[in-house]
Symmetry: C2
Subunit: 323 residues, 2 copies
């Protein structure tokens, strides 16, 4: 065949695969609350925070920015908000302290960074990213993580900086959940995930849940999926929940939502592990799956308005971005 014909065939083959479209989804916690009975005030604050987070991530992605920057932007907005159980809204440990956990993962190269048990860091997710990019490590905990922060020029706050947490954060105390997280895919097709939390309310000092643990609460792998989880972290660790979902997609070819349902509804729920995940595949819209009555989440796709949900509903086909 002549070269021009080969080029034409190549162009046709490329057209058959939909071009990567960017997408971002976030969550603000899952729990045994009744979305219909949420007081209007806190609900409006949660929705405003989620809209702001989606807008921050969407602006980056629409401008051709990376998925990693997008998930960091979304989570940072929610850490700074105060209504979520992360950053300045973090719940307290059993001895009245605040120990914050966060992790970030770049699907491009499967790089990851995480911190756990930090008390003096305003934005744990930003510190997790510094661990990923400026250390040879993945996970730094407690004092060591704060020492690294200081070496990186990150401001160390007075440990009592969260002296008046917003209470009751609707996504936190009643059921002790309320982690925030984001997953994104950029126009280049790269995936990223991030999760940040104050952990379970009245948790034991030193307790680390799934949020800062790669493969448990956070996972991103280009060509497969990006996942952020929220819920009773111990169960997500014991089931390696995020990686278990990813493995079903990668090894069995399951759709992200179906794979998430197998783990969250099929495995975690029977074991007693309450919670949910947001998951975004290499193509298509994000999905949210939980085994609780409520889960704050939302998503933003090109050319459409942000969508917010207080419980998981099936994503209608017409909300799938057209190729």
């Amino acid at each position: 065949m002549r070269p021009v014909v080969l080029l034409l065939l190549a162009a046709l083959a490329a057209a058959a695969e939909p071009a990567p479209t960017w997408a971002v989804a976030i969550h603000g916690g899952a729990g045994a609350f009744d979305p219909a009975r949420l007081p209007a005030g806190p609900r409006a604050r949660v929705e405003a925070g989620m809209n702001k987070a989606l807008a921050a991530a969407g602006a980056i992605l629409a401008a051709g920015g990376g998925a990693l920057d997008a998930v960091q932007a979304a989570v940072t907005v929610m850490e700074d908000d105060g209504i979520f159980n992360a950053g300045r809204g973090a719940v307290a440990t059993s001895d009245g302290r605040h120990e914050l956990d966060a992790s970030i993962m770049d699907g491009n190269g499967q790089r990851a960074g995480a911190v756990a048990g930090v008390q003096r860091i305003r934005n744990p997710l930003a510190l997790a990213r510094l661990v990923m990019e400026r250390s040879s490590n993945v996970l730094l905990v407690t004092d060591g993580a704060e020492l690294f922060a200081r070496q990186q020029g990150v401001e160390l706050l007075d440990p009592r900086w969260i002296d008046a947490p917003v209470a009751p954060a609707p996504a936190a105390p009643p059921d002790k959940h309320g982690t925030v997280g984001a997953v994104a895919r950029d126009a280049a097709g790269h995936l990223a995930a991030a999760t940040s939390t104050g952990g379970m309310s009245r948790k034991r000092p030193g307790r680390v849940g799934d949020s800062p643990l790669i493969g448990a609460g956070t996972w991103a792998q280009d060509g497969v999926c990006a996942i952020s989880a929220t819920g009773h972290g111990e169960y997500f660790i014991r089931h390696a929940a995020a990686h278990a979902i990813s493995a079903r997609i990668a090894l069995l070819g399951e759709a992200p939502e179906a794979a998430a349902r197998k783990i969250v509804v099929g495995e975690l729920a029977p074991a007693g592990g309450e919670g949910g995940v947001i998951v975004l595949g290499a193509s298509g819209p994000p999905a949210a799956v939980c085994n609780t009555t409520g889960m704050f989440h939302g998503w933003l796709l090109p050319g459409a308005a942000a969508v917010l949900r207080l419980r998981v509903e099936a994503v209608p086909a017409q909300e799938t971005p057209s190729p």
Copy 2:
């Protein structure tokens, strides 16, 4: 058919499946050392330690004891030995402290416990088991883990208790690896895994590797496999190595050794992640896979002498226990 015929058929079907046989395997670190050039003294000490660990686990399993008790017994022997990079043989952090990590997982119910960054605990693996059995948590770190230890009546040592580490521990300093671990299957078919380490030599304070992370350095799931890893932990975390092997066995039906090879040789090695794993399936003998020149490991099966290896070799078919 008459009941007696049905019973006969059931008995024949049961006979076709080999009865579960107990098995235990251990490792004492993988690295870029040349097993043929190990000095006789340290090598003899490593071999003596591994033999003692296998004997401790084997005595439990031969007497009908559980896989969980067996892996704890084996790892405790190696923590107490001093020649391995775990417990009293732990290497130091960059600021001269010792921060120990350990985890244990019971394949029966996928329960798990872990501690990271403890400085004052003689047997971190025993504390990890207490976390599993006497708390509602999976992972406790640093001061919080030591507070829990004190509440459980565990002796807190002077942080300088490891004042004269055995140096050079052959499995540790040259390549900074040397974690210990064990996997076991008991006569009831239950699986368990345990890992304990001093971490990487001169590691950053607060750095947590894969050893205490469920799904990264340790995994056990009845009917699937038990795994303990050793090596450059950050890579094992970023690839969720232990769970990735388990997922291939569970979802694809791969043999444990083949699945381990896919991850350790096929994924970790190209990414630059040195190390290895021991893996034990729901039936059959254990396997060891590494991408380094050396890996201390050994196994013990019913009715046979303990086998020790300094590098990974294929397990000869005749060493498979006969049904």
